[in-house]
């Protein structure tokens, strides 16, 4: 009896969550995939109609804008947040006084929801209320900073707010990484008279490769599913110049009653995520086998 329990109890305990995940994650991915091949409008319909939704999607200039924005936003957001996070971590690693306080300050934006971040930055960047108005009030009448209302630059304000929110978190990740590097190696290098920047660039940073990968994965999925930040900061505007795939999908599903179109955009978003995550998982799993 106890043998039977020993072999079957773990399975029995895990079964409910396994079934729930199969149904609510993979089941609904399958459902969405099915719907993306139909002409569903207000309500889902299940007769397959081929790839018409995908053809519509790729012919839509708004989807193009959304994908371009995802590329611009994703790249800048990930690169800047990582660089800034690394820089902050290295500075904090110099055994500064009251490190705990400073670390908390930098980490704090992470505690805010994206909606709060977006709204605060919307006010700061609004030309009539925020920064531009304030600097003009100081007497610099020609000062302009209208990125938020300029369709060509509005996406960079989303990057700005996103970086502000996330770089503290990346800093914490890197700081933990820096602390985990073997002190002995660093001391040996110092004894050899190697300059500090060389110690960082040739010893510490290369040994932190796994941390870079984790940070990249976390930031990449934040970027792809980014929705609330754009809604709060720009509402997708001016025009639809700051639309991201997630806001496109929402508009199609909930404002326009075009479920088929929304499903096809969701599938493309999922493929983008897979394109990033699968190589990561592959390398992780392979590393364990070695």
């Amino acid at each position: 009896m106890s043998d039977w329990l020993e072999t079957h109890l773990p399975k029995a305990v895990l079964a409910p969550s396994f079934i729930a995940i199969m149904l609510f994650v993979y089941g609904f991915i399958g459902w969405t995939a099915w719907v993306s091949f139909t002409r569903s409008k207000l309500l889902p319909r299940y007769e397959l109609k081929g790839t018409v939704q995908y053809e519509k999607l790729f012919a839509s200039p708004r989807w193009d804008t959304a994908m371009d924005n995802l590329f611009v936003f994703g790249t800048l957001f990930i690169v800047i947040a990582m660089l800034l996070g690394l820089l902050l971590a290295i500075f904090l690693d110099q055994k500064v006084r009251s490190e705990g306080v400073i670390r908390t300050i930098y980490l704090y934006p992470m505690a805010l929801s994206m909606i709060v971040t977006g709204t605060a930055w919307k006010w700061i960047l609004n030309p009539g209320l925020g920064l531009e108005n304030m600097v003009r009030g100081w007497g610099f009448e020609t000062f302009t900073f209208d990125w938020l209302v300029n369709p060509d630059f509005a996406i960079y304000t989303v990057v700005l707010a996103g970086v502000w929110q996330s770089s503290g978190f990346v800093m914490a990740l890197f700081l933990a990484g820096l602390r985990s590097v073997d002190e002995e190696i660093i001391k040996a290098a110092q004894v050899d008279g190697i300059p500090t920047w060389r110690i960082y660039s040739a010893i510490i940073i290369p040994s932190m490769a796994p941390i870079f990968l984790s940070a990249f994965i976390v930031l990449a999925h934040l970027a792809i599913k980014s929705f609330d930040l754009v809604i709060a900061l720009t509402g997708g505007g001016p025009g639809y110049s700051t639309d991201l795939p997630a806001t496109y999908m929402y508009a199609m599903a909930f404002s326009r009653g075009d479920i088929g179109q929304a499903a096809s955009s969701a599938m493309i978003m999922m493929m983008v995520v897979f394109a990033i995550v699968v190589p990561y998982l592959y390398s992780e799993l392979r590393a364990k086998h070695d």
Partner: protein
């Protein structure tokens, strides 16, 4: 599908279980949740109760009805539709095609709706010849609001052509006043756009372009001229308009920061709430050009089981279109009654103008549905047009590119 069948059966069991309770019953899904709107709905609730009905309120706020539509979808999919739902325009037909709307023709025929409603509005309430919805009010969309004091101080009359509007705006801009108060949200851009299309192209052009979606009309020179006028208007808004809510734009006109606003007659509610008087503090006129763009709120009745619920639908439909409710409700809401035989003694001068124009344009065939407010087109097509309009207004796109994009977007949206 087993699951749905089971859900339907259990829902049926619940309903028949309740059937013992006598009297009309209605569960009403709506998104009238802001101050004036909530007051208007309360009027209907009281009347419903006074006629012996039981009203179950189901208000869903948010997203200009998007949240309510999501709730509706969930209810219909689970086989438990509300009795009546606030729906409007082609959305009524879309739901009808899903096979879930009820027929209320007996009420409509007894009450003689055909005689008291303008024909084009009545057509929205019919699904393949039977009545499936009841109209509540008529909002006019193509209004232009102005600050009376600013116009007087600059010697400007209310413009009757777009050229006059442009000349007046140049004069105001030279005097350091923002000519046009506008909020850079897609639906507001669309609201201005349809007023411009109606003014520049005329009612027939509007019908062909934004109702019938005729491809040649969409790429015509008249449409280019409409986009040119949009580009001109872009020069008359302040630099900080992006993302502004419509009521803040109204406040700019009220406070004398801007001269004009192009917005539906819900803007009147803002003026009145601030204690301003029509004709004295603020002026109302139709946007340049002839025609009347309407935005009609209505209740669609869903297929439900149980005699008390059906009785509730009939009672609700009768009350909603009844003259008493049409008067009280619209006084609260700022719109005008949908039926033409209601006395307008208690309404203000703007509402009188609106009612006059509605009757005149109904006879002249220029009573047209608003595309920007979901009366003329289905969600996907209206959305596709709005995308182009807002992209053009917020960039330096040429009018030629814009009309090309417009016809591509419409073709791609089916």
């Amino acid at each position: 599908m087993k699951f749905t069948a089971y859900a339907a059966v259990s829902a049926l069991a619940l309903i028949t279980g309740n059937a013992a309770l006598a009297g009309p019953e209605a569960e009403v899904l709506h998104y009238w949740t802001s101050g004036g709107e909530a007051k208007s709905v309360a009027v209907l609730q009281q009347e419903f109760a006074a006629n012996g009905g039981t009203w179950t309120d189901m208000p869903v706020a948010g997203g200009g009805g998007d949240a309510a539509m999501t709730a509706l979808r969930a209810r219909v999919l689970s086989g438990n539709a509300p009795t009546a739902v606030q729906l409007k325009g082609p959305a009524i037909q879309e739901w009808y095609e899903e096979g879930v709307l009820a027929d209320i023709s007996n009420v409509a025929n007894t009450e003689g709706w055909d005689k008291v409603l303008p024909a084009s509005i009545a057509n929205h309430m019919k699904c393949e010849g039977t009545w499936c919805a009841a109209p509540v009010n008529v909002h006019r969309v193509d209004w232009i609001w102005a600050n009376a004091e600013i116009l007087a101080a600059n010697g400007i009359e209310m413009p009757t052509t777009w050229d006059e509007f442009n000349a007046a705006s140049e004069k105001l801009a030279a005097a350091g006043i923002t000519p046009l108060a506008h909020g850079g949200q897609a639906w507001q851009d669309a609201t201005v756009f349809e007023a411009v299309v109606l003014g520049i192209g005329g009612p027939e052009f509007f019908q062909k372009a934004l109702v019938d979606l005729d491809p040649d009309t969409l790429t015509s020179d008249t449409m280019k001229a409409a986009f040119d006028q949009m580009r001109t208007l872009r020069g008359y808004v302040d630099s900080n308009f992006s993302g502004r809510d419509w009521n803040l734009a109204t406040a700019m006109v009220m406070n004398g920061e801007a001269a004009f606003q192009i917005m539906g007659d819900w803007a009147k509610g803002e003026f009145l709430a601030a204690g301003k008087e029509p004709g004295k503090d603020f002026l109302c006129a139709s946007t340049p050009g002839e025609g009347f763009l309407y935005n009609v709120d209505s209740f669609a009745m869903f297929e439900v089981d149980g005699d008390d619920k059906r009785a509730g639908q009939d009672l609700l439909a009768k009350l909603v279109v009844g003259p008493g409710f049409q008067e009280t409700f619209n006084l609260n809401k700022g719109s005008i009654p949908a039926r033409t035989d209601v006395g307008l003694d208690k309404f203000d001068s703007c509402a009188h103008l609106s009612a006059q124009d509605m009757n005149a344009s109904s006879e002249g065939g220029s009573l047209l549905p608003s595309y920007a407010h979901g009366m003329a087109l289905r969600g996907a097509q209206a959305g596709a047009i709005t995308d182009v309009v807002t992209a053009h207004f917020n960039s330096d796109m040429s009018s030629a590119d814009a009309v090309q994009m417009l016809s591509d977007a419409v073709a791609n949206s089916y």
